[in-house]
């Protein structure tokens, strides 16, 4: 296993990103304060004991008010544009918070990218052109729908190949089994012998 460098934990928090609600710098500063007044101490103890609950409550609040809090102004000018925008960004990945779509992510980079995509839609670019703009920069990884090409053949066709091979193997197995247990009718002598045993 690769040894994880400690810096990665900072990186994951994301220089460009506010995947969570707390900017990295605030996390960073928390441990560096020296002065500890009484109130600070009690707040600290409170946080230690109820921190998790607090975080959960905050999480709930933030998730329900997420829209209202988003920094980005919601442009309400053109519903058609927003419709295309939504359709497009829902199939694209935010590279900072990798499990979020570009539509959902609140990372600054995602915000900047949405801005650029809006501009390009206004400039009359087609969806393909906009997707090409992004893949030229970030690679196919931005696409939630991977394109069919040489390196993704296994991904796209592998399951079907497995299905065909599996069906073939199953067919052969069943056939060979049937041959093994083929019924061979009793000869007249055997039948007589069996009857004798049964009637005895």
């Amino acid at each position: 296993m690769k040894v994880q460098q400690p810096i990665n934990s900072v990186k994951l928090c994301g220089p460009l990103c506010l995947c969570g609600e707390i900017p990295c710098e605030q996390i960073h500063h928390r441990g560096t304060e020296n002065s500890q007044s009484f109130t600070e101490k009690s707040i600290r103890i409170f946080l230690k004991q109820y921190g998790l609950i607090l975080v959960m409550v905050c999480g709930l609040l933030f998730s329900s008010f997420g829209f209202a809090l988003a920094k980005e102004a919601q442009p309400n000018e053109d519903p058609q544009l927003e419709q295309r925008m939504k359709h497009l960004t829902e199939q694209l990945r935010c590279l900072v918070c990798q499990n979020e779509t570009l539509a959902d992510s609140r990372a600054d980079l995602a915000e900047d990218l949405r801005k650029q995509i809006r501009e390009q839609i206004r400039a009359g670019k087609t969806d393909q052109e906009i997707i090409a703009f992004l893949t030229e920069r970030y690679g196919d990884f931005v696409l939630y729908n991977p394109p069919v090409k040489k390196t993704t053949y296994l991904l796209w066709f592998g399951p079907f190949v497995l299905l065909i091979v599996g069906t073939g193997v199953l067919y052969r197995y069943v056939k060979s089994r049937r041959e093994k247990i083929k019924e061979t009718p009793l000869t007249a002598a055997e039948r007589k012998q069996a009857e004798e045993i049964l009637n005895a």
């Binding site: 220089p15 960073h28 590279l95 990798q98 690679g139």
Partner: protein, 181 residues
């Protein structure tokens, strides 16, 4: 014993090997589509001298390192002292792009000038990207990111995240020497 009974075991071991390799890969390190392609052009102001415009075209004929950073980026601060050391070695000139943080922060330029004055300046030139457009053109998503660009303006290597001594000594330096020949 039927030898076909071993097939599921072999398949299972294969699957485990496949997943193990996958586990050890860092999902943040994506292959850059820019490798072996022309470095995107831009025209941006220098950090301290807004009147002077910098373009990568000015760098034709040189092997150079383009480093995207920002004062808001903690990993960049971690990388900074090493960059100063590398710059001192004069092996590869390092050019910095100071990348603005977010739409609601407009003091990045001043902050960067102050930061470089305090912590030392590894950059031959520092360029300011106020809207992050150049950074997007370079596909930057996890600063610091560094691009080694050859004499013809082609990107030959990309480092995502801070440059470590290992990366510098084993990848960037040898490649730069080779490109300089």
């Amino acid at each position: 014993m039927n030898k076909y009974l071993l097939i599921p075991l072999v398949l299972f071991i294969g699957l485990v090997a496949f997943l193990l390799v996958g586990l050890n890969r860092d999902p943040r390190e994506l292959p850059s589509p820019l490798i072996n392609k022309a470095a995107p052009d831009f025209q941006l102001q220098r950090l301290t001298e807004p009147a002077r415009i910098f373009s990568p075209k000015d760098m034709r004929g040189k092997v150079w390192l383009l480093n995207f950073w920002g004062t808001w980026c903690i990993a960049c601060r971690d990388e900074h002292p090493r960059l100063i050391e590398y710059a001192k070695s004069k092996a590869v000139p390092i050019y910095g792009v100071d990348y603005k943080y977010a739409n609601d922060r407009n003091d990045e330029r001043a902050a960067a000038i102050q930061f470089l004055a305090q912590e030392g300046n590894p950059y031959t030139e520092t360029i300011y990207d106020p809207e992050g457009r150049t950074s997007i053109d370079y596909g930057v998503y996890g600063a610091p990111e560094s691009f080694l660009i050859d004499k013809n303006g082609v990107v030959r290597f990309k480092q995502i995240g801070p440059i470590t001594d290992e990366v510098w000594n084993k990848k960037i330096l040898p490649l730069a020497q080779q490109l300089n020949q």
